[in-house]
């Protein structure tokens, strides 16, 4: 009897503490220094160090590269613009209720996604080059955007599908037609979800433009290879080429994150 009492006194009430949930940092919570700043500082500082303290090979090298950097920029920008257009059309085609459009868009995605970019470049330039005479820059841009259009199509499709069907129903009940619904209601909302993965594709595209050097397009990598194999300065050349790619990529990723911030400025959570 006594023991029972004692035991019942020992039992303490179970307290379940309800915390804040998973540790997702809130917006604007950046910590001491952002990874972007750290990488950018590392890249620029290394570049400056090499140019100032090791001028013998590096200054000569950086004078050799500018036209290559320009070509890399050109191919990247034109390919991104064209890939967004192709991607949007493909994404819309993939969710279209028209069976023919849907089939065409899906087949395009399946085929392009299944062939390596390098092979596509060879195909468009050398194989199709026997029938269609296009300049090398055009071939490079067409091949790059043709490949990335398929990837971006999937991103667009996922973003559009992520918007709740209630939005469509609401817009339609307000009298919007299907295109108006897509243009005024769905796409503006989907764009926020789409932007981070699209930014990712931008950066991947920029780096993959190095593959166009196989088409004898004198981009940054090709210029670097020409310099390296003439001067035998392989280590120095590829160090500099890597740094330049890194800096360009970091600038692009900053632009994307600025765009992300702009888009989510009015969103309160």
């Amino acid at each position: 009897m006594n023991e029972d009492k004692k035991r019942s006194q020992d039992i303490k009430p179970v307290v379940i503490e309800v915390g804040d949930g998973a540790a997702i940092p809130s917006r604007g919570d950046r910590g001491l220094v952002s990874a972007w700043k750290l990488s950018f500082f590392f890249a620029v500082a290394t570049l400056a160090y090499l140019l100032i303290f090791r001028p013998t090979p590096y200054v000569r090298l950086i004078k050799f590269l500018p036209d290559g950097i320009l070509v890399t920029f050109q191919v990247t920008i034109f390919s991104i613009l064209l890939a967004i257009v192709i991607g949007l059309l493909t994404g819309l085609g993939r969710i279209s209720r028209n069976k023919v459009i849907n089939l065409v868009a899906s087949t395009y995605v399946e085929i392009v996604r299944g062939v390596p970019l390098l092979v596509q470049l060879f195909y468009i330039y050398y194989a199709l080059g026997q029938f269609v005479k296009v300049p090398d820059m055009v071939a490079a841009v067409v091949a790059m955007s043709f490949c990335y259009g398929a990837y971006m199509g999937e991103v667009f499709r996922a973003g559009i599908l992520s918007i709740s069907h209630g939005q469509t129903e609401a817009a339609r009940s307000l009298g919007f037609n299907r295109w108006q619904t897509m243009y005024y209601v769905i796409l503006p909302q989907a764009w926020r979800t789409i932007l981070p993965p699209v930014g990712n594709e931008f950066i991947a595209l920029l780096k993959d433009t190095s593959l166009v050097s196989i088409l004898a397009v004198s981009d940054l990598l090709r210029r670097g290879r020409e310099f390296a194999s003439e001067s035998f300065l392989y280590f120095e050349t590829y160090t500099l080429v890597a740094l330049i790619y890194l800096i360009i990529t970091l600038i692009l990723s900053k632009l994307v994150s600025i765009m992300e911030e702009r888009l989510s400025r009015h969103v309160t959570r």
């Binding site: 050398y126 080059g129 026997q130 005479k133 300049p135 090398d136 196989i214 004898a216 004198s218 090709r222 290879r225 020409e226 390296a228 194999s229 003439e230 035998f232 392989y234």
Partner: protein, 244 residues
């Protein structure tokens, strides 16, 4: 009895082992017909390959050929990935600073290949036009030397010929045996291309390149090349592969 047989066998293995001599690994960019290329049986073959095999027989080494892309072939030598380069490397002063060369084994000149209907007689007439060559070959350097010509560098000389055939560039500069192979013998190109001229830039020679100070390989290769030349084997190979 058994022991004795075993010993004999072991002794024989050891003896023949030393007699078979050492392997020398040659890097070769097998995209340069008829000097070195991949034959229909997927083996690396060609003039230089046969030459080194004959030299090996004479000097007592076994050549082993390793396919390596031209771009970076010298970096691989520097890193010690192979003993030597047998890949139609022209002996130049810049290259001599970075590596050692065997005695020359083949004399070569640069040839300009153009479409059949072209009337060009000299490389200087190509001003304002675009010429292609394999990246960092002596052909590429020859284009850069002439002012006012746009140069385009390719990973393989075959891609340059394909671009010339498709009309994207106005000519290709490369070593004369290679030019002859593409412009005169290749079934696809021989009706569309021709050799316009041999570029007068002094004679060039191919040599086997090896890492600076690698005396053992240098001596063996030089010994082999000398024996091949003394016996006239090089003339036979020339007849077989180049046809003069």
């Amino acid at each position: 009895m058994f022991k004795r047989t075993l010993l004999t066998v072991m002794a024989l293995v050891l003896l023949t082992g030393t007699a078979l001599a050492k392997d020398i690994v040659f890097a070769t960019d097998a995209t340069w017909p008829p000097m070195e290329f991949v034959g229909p049986d997927k083996e690396i073959t060609g003039f230089a390959v046969d030459y080194m095999k004959a030299a090996g027989k004479e000097a007592g080494f076994t050549p082993v050929f390793k396919a390596v892309a031209w771009d970076g072939i010298f970096a691989g030598l520097d890193a010690g990935n192979y003993d030597a380069i047998c890949s139609s490397v022209s002996i130049t002063d810049e290259r001599k600073n970075a590596m050692d060369f065997s005695t020359p084994y083949f004399k070569v000149r640069q040839a300009l290949v153009v479409p059949k209907d072209s009337t060009v007689k000299k490389i200087e007439e190509m001003k304002g036009k675009t010429l292609g060559a394999q990246i960092s070959t002596t052909g590429h350097f020859a284009i850069k030397k002439v002012e006012g010509i746009k140069d385009k560098s390719y990973d393989e000389v075959g891609l340059a010929f394909e671009d010339l055939f498709n009309g994207r560039i106005d000519g290709v500069v490369c070593d004369d045996p290679v030019a002859a192979q593409y412009a005169l013998q290749n079934d696809k190109y021989k009706n569309a291309l021709k050799i316009a001229t041999i570029i007068e830039a002094g004679d060039e020679f191919y040599g086997i390149a090896m890492k600076k100070g690698n005396k053992e390989v240098l001596d063996l290769v030089n010994k082999g090349i000398k024996a091949v030349q003394d016996k006239g084997i090089d003339k036979e190979l020339q007849k077989k592969w180049i046809g003069q």
